[in-house]
C-alpha cells in the first residue's frame, strides 16, 4: 500500500468572474482551502455546506474538471495540475473516480448503460478483452447488489434513479480506484432508498479499501456515513474534524447554526429567535465572512481574517473565538490535516 497521502489540497483557491467585463466582480468560490486525506486506512470524508459554500466547485477541482486559480492539488503524492512530476490522465483516472448527483444525466440517453462499463474496463486496464471485461463488470455490479443480466443492453430510462446510481458506483469501482469523489450522490433519490446507497459506501470502504469524499448539504447522512466532516461556508473551510466530535461539540458558530437548523427527528426546535438570512455579499471580504450572522462576534472578527486554529486532536476551526479573539500575528496557524 502506498504511504502517500491519498489526496491533499494546499491553499486551494478558485475565483469566478461574475457580471460584465468592466463592471463585474470577482467571486471567490473556494478561498484558501487546505485539506488532507491521509494514507493508511481508507476513510470517508464529508464536505458539508449549503449552496454557494464552494463544495461543488471543490469536487470538480478534485476531479480535474475545473482548474484552480491558485494553490495545489495532489493525488497520491503527485501533482494534478502543474509541475514536471504531474500525474497523467490515464493514471489519474485509475486512481480517482466520480459519482455524480443526477444519475440520469451521468449517462447518455442514446447509449446502453453497459457501454460505459465496458469502456471503463477496457480503457483503464481492468480487462484485456471483452470477455474478461464482462467478468469484471459482473463482479462490480454484484458488489452494488445488481445482476449483470438485468443491466446488459438497457438504456438509462429503463432504470430507476437508485438503480442507475448504483450502476454509476459499479462503473467507478471497475478500475479499482483509491478515491471516489461523490457529489451529492443521494440528493435526487427518495428518502427511503437513500440508505441503500449510503450503506453501500460504508460497505465498499471496507471491502474494496476505497476512500470516499462525500459532498452533501445533508448533515444527517454525512454524520451517518463519515469518519471526518469538513464544513464549508462561502468558500472557506470553517471546521474540520471527526464526525462525532464536530456534531456533538461544534467549535465554529456556523456549525452550531447548521446543527440547529436541521429539522431533526426526536428533538424539537425551540422557538428562540432565528437569525434572518442576510443578503449581503459575503464572498470577497477581508474579515470573517460569518461575522454578520455570528452570535459570538467581536470587533476583531470584522477587521481581520480568522486564523485556522487547532481545537483538538485532528480538529481545526477557522475562528477567533478559540484563541480568545487574539489578533492574527499572535499565534501560529495550524497545519491542516487529518
Amino acid at each position: 500500500m502506498s504511504s502517500e497521502k491519498v489526496m491533499e489540497l494546499k491553499g486551494l483557491t478558485r475565483a469566478f468572474r461574475i457580471g460584465g467585463l468592466l463592471t463585474g466582480s470577482r467571486l471567490l468560490a473556494v478561498d484558501d482551502v487546505s485539506l488532507t486525506l491521509a494514507a493508511g486506512e481508507p476513510a470517508i470524508l464529508s464536505i458539508v455546506g449549503e449552496s454557494g459554500s464552494g463544495k461543488t466547485t471543490m469536487a470538480r477541482i478534485m476531479l480535474r474538471l475545473l482548474e484552480p486559480s491558485g494553490g495545489d492539488v495532489y493525488i497520491n503524492g503527485r501533482h494534478v495540475f502543474a509541475g514536471a512530476n504531474r500525474m497523467d490522465s490515464h493514471e489519474f483516472r485509475r486512481f480517482v473516480q466520480p459519482i455524480f448527483q443526477n444519475p440520469f444525466e451521468a449517462f447518455s440517453s442514446r447509449k446502453p448503460v453497459d457501454s460505459y462499463l465496458y469502456e471503463t474496463a477496457l480503457n483503464l486496464g481492468a480487462a484485456a478483452n471483452r470477455k474478461q471485461a464482462r467478468e469484471v463488470i459482473a463482479d462490480a455490479l454484484n458488489s452494488v447488489g445488481l445482476d449483470i443480466g438485468l443491466v446488459e443492453g438497457k438504456y438509462p430510462n429503463q432504470f430507476s434513479g437508485g438503480e442507475l446510481q448504483r450502476i454509476s458506483i459499479a462503473r467507478a469501482l471497475i478500475p479499482n480506484p483509491k478515491l471516489i469523489v461523490a457529489d451529492e450522490p443521494v440528493s435526487m433519490i427518495d428518502a427511503s432508498l437513500r440508505m441503500n446507497i449510503v450503506n453501500l459506501f460504508l460497505q465498499l470502504k471496507k471491502e474494496r479499501q476505497v476512500s470516499f469524499i462525500y459532498i452533501t448539504h445533508d448533515l444527517s447522512t454525512a454524520y451517518y456515513v463519515s469518519d471526518y466532516i469538513a464544513i464549508m461556508y462561502r468558500g472557506n473551510l470553517v471546521e474540520l474534524g471527526p464526525s462525532d466530535a464536530i456534531l456533538t461539540d461544534p467549535q465554529h458558530p456556523y456549525t452550531e447554526l447548521l446543527m440547529d437548523s436541521v429539522p431533526k427527528i426526536g428533538e424539537k426546535w425551540d422557538d428562540v429567535a432565528v437569525l434572518p438570512d442576510v443578503e449581503t455579499k459575503e464572498y470577497a471580504v477581508t474579515h470573517c465572512k460569518f461575522a454578520a450572522r455570528c452570535p459570538y462576534v467581536r470587533d476583531i472578527c470584522r477587521q481581520q481574517r480568522p486564523p485556522l486554529v487547532e481545537v483538538g486532536p485532528e480538529r481545526q476551526a477557522l475562528c477567533f473565538r478559540p484563541v480568545d479573539y487574539a489578533p492574527q500575528s499572535e499565534h501560529v496557524v495550524a497545519a491542516a490535516g487529518i
Binding site: 440508505m195 441503500n196 450503506n199 447554526l257 436541521v262
Partner: protein
Amino acid sequence: MYTLSNVKAYYDSPRGPVKAVDDVTLEILPNEILGIAGESGCGKSTLIKVIYGHIKPPLRLVSGEIRAEMKDNGQITILSAKDLPKVWWEFISYVPQASMSVLNPVMRIENQFFDAVSRFHRAGSREEIRQQVADYLKELDLPVEVLKAYPHQLSGGMRQRVLVALATFLHPQIILADEPTTALDVVVQRGILRMLTRVQQAMGNTLIIVSHDMGVHYQITRRMAIMYAGQLVEVGPTERIFSAPQHPYTEMLIKSLPRIGDHSAREGISGRPPSLLDPPPGCPFAPRCPAAMDICTQVRPPLVQTEDDHLAACFLHEEALAAAHAQKEGAQS
C-alpha cells in the same frame, strides 16, 4: 371544515390514466397544521392541487366529493370543487415550491400585491392598500424595501417569504404549502417554516404542508397524512406517527432516516414504488412489505381507525380485516 370523500383524480395520458389520487378520504380540521408526507410519485402534489381546486386537463376529477365550509362574517357557505377557484387567496391560498418562479419577473413586488388583492379587497385606495401591505410585512419581519424590488433582485429565501406574505395577506382559512422549502438551504428553511407557523398561530387557520422531508413534518406539523402510490396509508397525530407508526411503510420509512448522534445501522426499503399507471391489485405496498399476507395482494386495505384519531390502511390491524369482510359481504348480499 373541509372534507374529501373517496376522491379519485387521474391524469389522462396516452398510455392510460395515471392514478395520482386514488380514492382518498380526508378530513381537514380548522386551526391545525397538517402535513402530507410521501416520496416522489406518491401523488401528494396532485392531492394538494385537488384540495386547492386547481383541476385542469390532463388532471380530471373522476369521482368523489369535495366539500368546503367557508366562514364569512358568521355566514357559512358550502363550496364544492368547482367553486374553489372563485375564492382563491381569500378562503384558500397556495404557496408553491421554492424552485418555481411564480412571480412576474417584470413587475415590482408591490404591484404583484395589488394585482392579487385588487380582486377581493372591499375598500381602499392604492395608498391604503400599500400601507396595509407594509404593515403586514413588518409583522412578518420582512423589510419594507422589498415592495419596490423586482423578483430577481431578491434571494430565493426572500422570494419565498414574499410569496408566503402574498398568500396570507387576505387571511385565508386554509394555507397550502407545496414543498415550500425544498430548494432552499436548511438555515433559510428554518426561517420560512417559522414564518409559516407564526402566521398560522396568529390567524388561527389551517396550514397544510406537503413535504418529502420527514424532519420538517416532525418539527412543525401536529397531524400527518402519509401517502403511498396515490393512496392514504396512515393519518394521525405527528408524535404518534413517529413513536408508534401503524403502517409498515411509515415504520420502515422512519426507521431508514439517519439521526445525528445515532450511529446505529439504517436500512432503506428494498424495491421501488409502483407506477401510478398500473398499480398492483390490493395494497400498493404489498410487493415491498415484509409482513405481506395473501389478502394484501388481493384486497385493498381500507383506511380504518386503529386508535384515537389515528387511521391506517393495513390488514395487520383487525379493524381493517373486519371492515374488508363487511364490505365483501355487503357487496355479495
